[in-house]
């Protein structure tokens, strides 16, 4: 079976500083992949290349659902298929929660307002914030904002959802509500790539865990193998350091 996302020889550098050293990674349709690793290891850069929020070297190639991720026309197609959730939510503060979720389907897919609203309300109910639809994002808690951000991305009916540390800027008591939404999402067949420090989430939900360090994939395996029986010393010391805290 051809993978939904095929990353080949992904290289990225800022000047002389190389962030990604030629990463090869295939992700199957419906797979839930968690990316872990120390800060600065290139996790964000890796997933931001998938929808080309970061440009990358010409020798590299990323193909998403048969479409080459490059500058130009095809990029719009890729971005419409790939949803992204950011650490800092990035909701549109001048639009209500409902309008945040309705905007992209109307503008990118040409969905009629009534249909976009019906769909948005359905998604907001699914992430548990139907009552907040008319509020502005600034009035919501961090956990609620992040759930709106997930609904906003889902409104495009993406094949792939990218999450870049979606719970890292949340107060501890709000982490659970966002992880719960992500867990239920993982059961729906959407392909997920999740950069996270939530090892419990990775262990419970991931089909595969990737450990990155220094711009390379050091080790990847099923969660139980990575967490209970890591092969590489770097993985072991990283897991020791995060599980200690």
């Amino acid at each position: 079976m051809t993978p939904l996302i095929k990353i080949s020889n992904l290289k990225k550098a800022y000047g002389i500083f190389t962030v990604l050293h030629g990463i090869d990674l295939d992700i199957a349709e419906g797979e839930v992949v968690c990316v872990i690793g120390p800060s600065g290891s290139g996790k964000s850069t890796l997933i931001r290349c998938i929808n080309r929020l970061e440009s990358f070297s010409d020798e590299s190639s990323i193909v998403v659902d048969g479409v080459v991720v490059g500058p130009g026309e095809a990029l719009a197609k890729v971005r419409a298929e790939v949803g992204m959730v950011f650490q800092s939510f990035n909701l549109f503060p001048h639009l209500t929660v409902l309008k945040n979720v309705m905007l992209a389907p109307m503008r990118v897919r040409g969905t009629k307002p009534a249909e976009a609203e019906r769909k948005a309300r359905e998604l907001l109910a699914r992430v548990g914030i139907a009552e907040q639809a008319e509020k502005y994002p600034g009035k919501l808690s961090g956990g609620q904002q992040q759930r709106v951000a997930i609904a906003r991305a889902l409104a495009m009916e993406p094949k792939v959802m990218l999450f870049d540390e979606p719970t890292s800027s949340l107060d501890p008591e709000m982490v659970g509500e966002v992880l719960d939404v992500m867990k239920s999402l993982a059961g729906t067949g959407v392909t997920m790539v999740v950069v996270t420090h939530e090892m419990g989430f990775a262990r419970q939900v991931a089909d595969r865990v990737i450990f990155m360090d220094g711009g390379r994939i050091i080790e990847q395996n099923t969660p139980s193998k990575i967490f209970d029986n890591p092969k590489e010393e770097r993985t072991r010391s990283f897991l020791r350091s995060v599980l200690d805290h």
Binding site: R79, M84, N90, F92, H94, R107, V108, P137, A149
Partner: protein, 224 residues
């Protein structure tokens, strides 16, 4: 009461008031036209300076720098008195509007640019990640937020443009100042000039007060 008779001569003021009002109308015509064209030009310049291809951003920057440096009076005189030598002849009204627009669009371009640059990078990234086109990103996400930031400085710029319309009197435009100086000559009394000054203040004071309120309003409204 010589002073009152000289500067606040009520009969003279009553006599010349219709003239002053017709001047005010011309001032407003020049001002409002230049403000609108200056806004459109400024937004265009800001966008091409930020996102234009190739040498366009640089050319836009050069334009902005030149027209922020040149004294408006000099520019106006060039447009009205120098351009005819190369066969370009504008009416006084068009000359005034052209000169004011050229300068105002340079200033508003910088205001719009600062407003767009003040929008957090995450707003651009979220728009791109959703697949919005550049046009939709600007129209639906970035500009509505930037507008809130730029309204106080843009209002300030409107005040400047309205004040600068007084320069149009040097190209024989029958604006408020020109009518006042003519009325002064006719009446052999400076009261019309004082009247004109009072009309300028009555026109612009509310705007000045609005700017102060807007700055306070948008200043305390700290958004994420």
């Amino acid at each position: 009461m010589n002073l009152l008779n000289t500067f606040f001569n009520i009969p003279v003021l009553i006599d010349t008031f219709p003239l002053l009002l017709s001047g005010l109308l011309v001032t407003l015509e020049i001002g409002v036209t230049s403000i609108i064209t200056g806004l459109a030009g400024g937004l265009f310049l800001a966008l091409v300076r930020l996102y234009g291809p190739g040498p366009i951003p640089f050319l836009s920057k050069i334009y902005i720098d030149i027209f922020r440096s040149i004294p408006l009076l000099v520019l106006l005189i060039i447009v009205y008195y120098a351009l005819p030598f190369v066969g370009i002849r504008f009416s006084p009204f068009v000359s005034a509007v052209v000169a004011l627009t050229l300068v105002s669009s340079a200033y508003t371009a910088e205001i719009f640019r600062a407003g767009i640059e003040a929008i957090p990078h995450g707003q651009f990234e979220a728009s791109q990640a959703l697949g919005l086109s550049s046009r939709h990103m600007m129209v639906d996400v970035i500009l509505p937020q930037a507008i809130r930031i730029v309204i106080p400085p843009l209002t300030n710029n409107c005040i400047n443009v309205l004040k600068d319309t007084a320069l149009a009197s040097v190209v024989a435009m029958p604006d408020l100042l020109k009518q006042a100086t003519q009325a002064q000559a006719l009446a052999a009394n400076p009261t019309p000039l004082i009247g004109a000054a009072l009309i300028y203040v009555a026109l612009l004071w509310p705007l000045v007060a609005i700017v102060a309120r807007l700055e306070k309003h948008f200043g305390k409204d700290k958004r994420p």
